[in-house]
């Protein structure tokens, strides 16, 4: 079993002799420190509408259209040109997973915050989670119960 405190698992960077591709006897793990390794940020968003429940039918193209319109409304043409990808869209629950560059996160998030209507219906984007790793969207840290 791998353990972080096990002998030889971690060494100080000065002492490690291992290079990528070179096997080093006696060292069980290679230590690599990445600074900001992730270029993208992922957002899990939901769309809430006036009558609670599925009051709005929306295709994935229309959903993307709403996002681009929101970006154009707040940040103009530069905002509309930001690369935003809809990775996954569920029509039934109106939730989606979006991907943007990390530097554009504030722009996208603020544009989504100020959305008031979609297809002439009142609605609101609820940002459920934001993470630089897609894996982290599997669980929701905001709903942890802290006693």
């Amino acid at each position: 079993m791998w353990s972080p405190t096990g002998s030889g698992a971690y060494r100080r960077p000065g002492r490690t002799m291992s290079r990528p591709g070179v096997e080093c006897r006696g060292s069980a793990a290679e230590r690599r420190v990445h600074r900001n390794p992730s270029h993208y940020q992922y957002l899990k968003v939901g769309l809430e509408c006036e009558p609670r429940g599925p009051g709005l039918r929306l295709s994935d193209a229309a959903f993307k259209q709403t996002i681009v319109a929101a970006l154009r409304g707040l940040h103009g043409e530069i905002g509309a040109a930001l690369p935003v990808d809809v990775l996954k869209f569920e029509e039934r629950s109106l939730t989606a997973i979006l991907r943007v560059r990390g530097s554009d996160l504030v722009k996208l998030w603020s544009a989504l915050t100020l959305v008031a209507s979609c297809k002439d219906k009142k609605c609101a984007f609820r940002i459920i989670q934001v993470s630089p790793f897609l894996l982290a969207l599997a669980g929701n840290s905001r709903e942890f119960l802290l006693d």
Binding site: V106, S110, T113, L114, A116, A124, R126, V130, L146
Partner: protein, 269 residues
């Protein structure tokens, strides 16, 4: 950890809608909300009403997301005023203390803004996004307000509804941030419907648009709001002395140490 708070929910007469708004706020993660009574002195005939009774509105308040605690509901009064005499009118109506937790003033003139920052006995100064600011925010009164522990409030609901109002909101916000440098600012909703509410993290991200730093933007929905609530509590009492009385019934009065013992045995068992 500091809890999130939204200190401005407009008191609409529809009780059911107000309940929906507060339920949504609890679901979004706000631990404290304040129901706002707006008092406009430009329309003469309005009187100062007593605040809505919270216990009547919610016999059992909804549970906050991620907290397992019920949401805390407070009352707040906002004066829309253009002259100092309007505030004195309020003081004569309630010479002792006002039955509200938080008192806010929305100044319409530069003179009142100066007086509100320097001398008035209030907790909040509203900077609305519904119109262009009728005066310039200057540094001396703002510094005075920061020294006295008075906070400035920006509202974001107008920004959601209308493109023009959005421009006003952001420009007023930037004007304020240029002067106060992100200190003593809170951001609140001023919403009248549940779809106008946004989550606390969304709002702290929105604060970055005004030029706040990330920490200041988060403090604007959490730490600073708590400071406002505490400022209101000290203003309501004798400026720092908080006096509470516990209602002891006859049967409880006999064995006072008992409840503590009881919890101990529960822990053991």
């Amino acid at each position: 950890m500091v809890c999130f708070a939204d200190l401005n929910i407009i008191n609409i007469n529809d009780k059911k809608r107000l309940q929906t708004i507060i339920e949504t706020a609890a679901h979004l993660g706000y631990s404290t909300v304040a129901i706002n009574h707006v008092l406009d002195f430009q329309q003469k005939e309005q009187g100062i009403a007593n605040p809505i009774s919270v216990a009547e509105l919610f016999p059992s308040p909804p549970i906050v997301q991620g907290k397992s605690k019920p949401i805390k509901i407070m009352t707040r009064l906002t004066l829309i005023a253009s002259d100092v005499s309007h505030y004195n009118q309020l003081r004569t109506a309630y010479p002792q203390n006002l039955p509200y937790d938080i008192i806010a003033v929305e100044p319409k003139t530069e003179k009142l803004f100066h007086v509100a920052c320097m001398t008035l006995d209030i907790d909040l100064i509203c900077i609305q996004g519904t119109s262009k600011l009728p005066f310039r925010i200057t540094r001396p009164p703002v510094n005075g307000a920061i020294a006295r522990g008075i906070y400035f409030e920006l509202t974001y609901f107008p920004a959601i509804n209308d493109f023009t109002l959005r421009r006003y909101t952001i420009s007023n916000g930037i004007c304020l941030m240029n002067v106060c440098k992100g200190k003593n600012v809170i951001v609140s909703s001023a919403t009248e419907e549940f779809l106008g509410l946004r989550g606390p993290y969304d709002i702290s991200n929105f604060g970055i648009l005004f030029g706040l730093s990330e920490e200041d933007a988060k403090a604007a929905v959490s730490t600073n709001c708590r400071a406002v609530v505490l400022h209101g509590a000290t203003r309501k009492t004798a400026l720092g002395v908080i006096h509470t009385t516990r209602n002891v019934t006859a049967s409880e009065g006999k064995d006072e140490g008992r409840p503590r013992k009881k919890t101990k045995t529960e822990h053991n068992g």
